[in-house]
Amino acid sequence: MDGTGHRIAALTAREAGLVGCQHCTRVSPMGTRTCTRCGGSLESRDRTSMQRVWAWWLVGLMAYIPANLYPMLLTRTVGQVQDATIVGGVIELAHHGAYGVAGIVFFASVIIPVGKFIAIAYLATIVRRPHGHKPGQLLHLYEVVEWIGRWSMIDVFVVAILAALVQFNLLATINPGVAAVCFALSVVFTMLAAMSFDSRRIWDQIRQTSDESPA
């Protein structure tokens, strides 16, 4: 226990018997369902948050597996059919000498998704019980995960652009593979998982820890 709970002890809307609106920052008496200012739904702490995080996380992972096994791009050049998976496409780019672009694609479609699965699972596990982690760092992790998730879509868009441009009948045709759909779904599901996470819970357990500890 690193005692941060005491230093950052701030009165929350919940403790003051109020419920704060995450859309417009207005506070209302506890028990209010819709915000009087913006009409958004109010909930002091999202009770179903963890269930939804894990549900989206799981379907995201389920979609991510076929996304890596099946081909992303189907290239037809004069009678030859070539298919490339996500990682295959990266290797191909590297062979062309485009290391920078290969790096971007690798980062967006391998590192980010895998990192996201780990980070979301880590956050969702840790805030359940009282924990001694610095909330500032957890929030940073959460914000990075939430912000970076959408960038995984790069590869899906690349496939879309290639498929739209390269349609020269017999000479060369590029078509999207099944993995493109799976990957897009996986990105959407993990984005939903990250959004379902209630960031206010990061501090709740910290507070409880400091209350329990004799200090």
């Binding site: 701030a10 009165l11 929350t12 809307a13 919940r14 003051a16 018997g17 109020l18 704060g20 609106c21 859309h23 417009c24 920052t25 207005r26 506070v27 209302s28 008496p29 200012r37 913006c38 009409g39 958004g40 780019l93 062309h96 485009a98 672009v101 971007i104 694609v105 909330p135 500032g136 929030l139 998730g149 959408r150 960038w151 879509m153 790069i154 590869d155 899906v156 868009f157 690349v158 879309a160 652009i161 290639l162 498929a163 739209a164 441009l165 390269v166 349609q167 020269f168 000479l171 060369a172 999207p176 099944v178 493109a180 759909v181 897009a184 984005m191 960031s199 206010r200 990061i202 501090w203």
Partner: protein, 206 residues
């Protein structure tokens, strides 16, 4: 504790703050998580509306003009964003066509329209239009799903992949897309939930 207009909660960590007006150009950060809660820039509303209108005009160019042109001796192919989205519209790939259309065209455009609807009248000192609160909330919800800037990076990657296959030329849409991405980033820096909602409140009371 009784709720009042001076009491504000941090949307990220729920800490309560008491705000008695924000001094010009100052940023108010949450004491606990350091999130920016309020920024006082009286011109922010006008800026958001102007930037959103500019993006909307550019968006029209983006959707219907070609953004990439591919030349390979005899063959010539060009694609507009609209065509790109439609490239998937066969069989299993249909959901992908819908997703790309949503992420790159529909959602960014809706977000701009929402901003103009909710904040447009405010910049002319008029009372807000009906449903302003709803559209403003919608604009905020749509934020992560509008992926125009990610599409731009996708274009760059596609350029490299096709580099040795054919000669590529950027169409007019490419440049206006680049402008939109820049403008959207600028617009998002003007946003502060507290300040915008307070402005909308004040305008409704007039």
């Amino acid at each position: 504790m009784a709720p009042s207009e001076d009491l504000v909660c941090c949307p990220v960590c729920d800490a309560l703050h008491e705000i008695h007006g924000v001094t010009d150009g100052k940023r108010l950060r949450c004491v606990r998580c350091n999130t920016v809660i309020a920024v006082d820039r009286p011109e922010a509303i006008v800026r958001i509306v102007v930037l959103a209108s500019t993006s909307l005009v550019l968006m029209f160019i983006v959707i219907f003009f070609p953004f990439l042109e591919l030349r390979n001796g005899v063959f010539d192919s060009r694609a507009s964003v609209f065509e790109t989205a439609m490239a998937f519209n066969r069989g299993v790939m249909a959901p992908l066509a819908i997703a790309v259309t949503l992420f790159v065209i529909v959602l960014p455009v809706s977000r701009l329209v929402c901003f103009i609807w909710a904040l447009g009248p405010l910049s002319f000192d008029r009372p807000p239009l009906p449903g302003a609160a709803f559209t403003l909330r919608l604009a905020e919800t749509l934020r992560p799903w509008a992926m125009a800037e990610i599409f731009m990076i996708g274009v760059a990657v596609a350029l490299v992949k096709l580099g040795d296959l054919a000669t590529l030329a950027m169409g007019p849409a490419f440049w206006s897309f680049a402008a939109i991405v820049f403008i959207t980033a600028l617009q998002d820096t003007q946003l502060s939930k507290y300040s915008i909602w307070t402005a909308l409140d004040t305008a409704s009371r007039r």
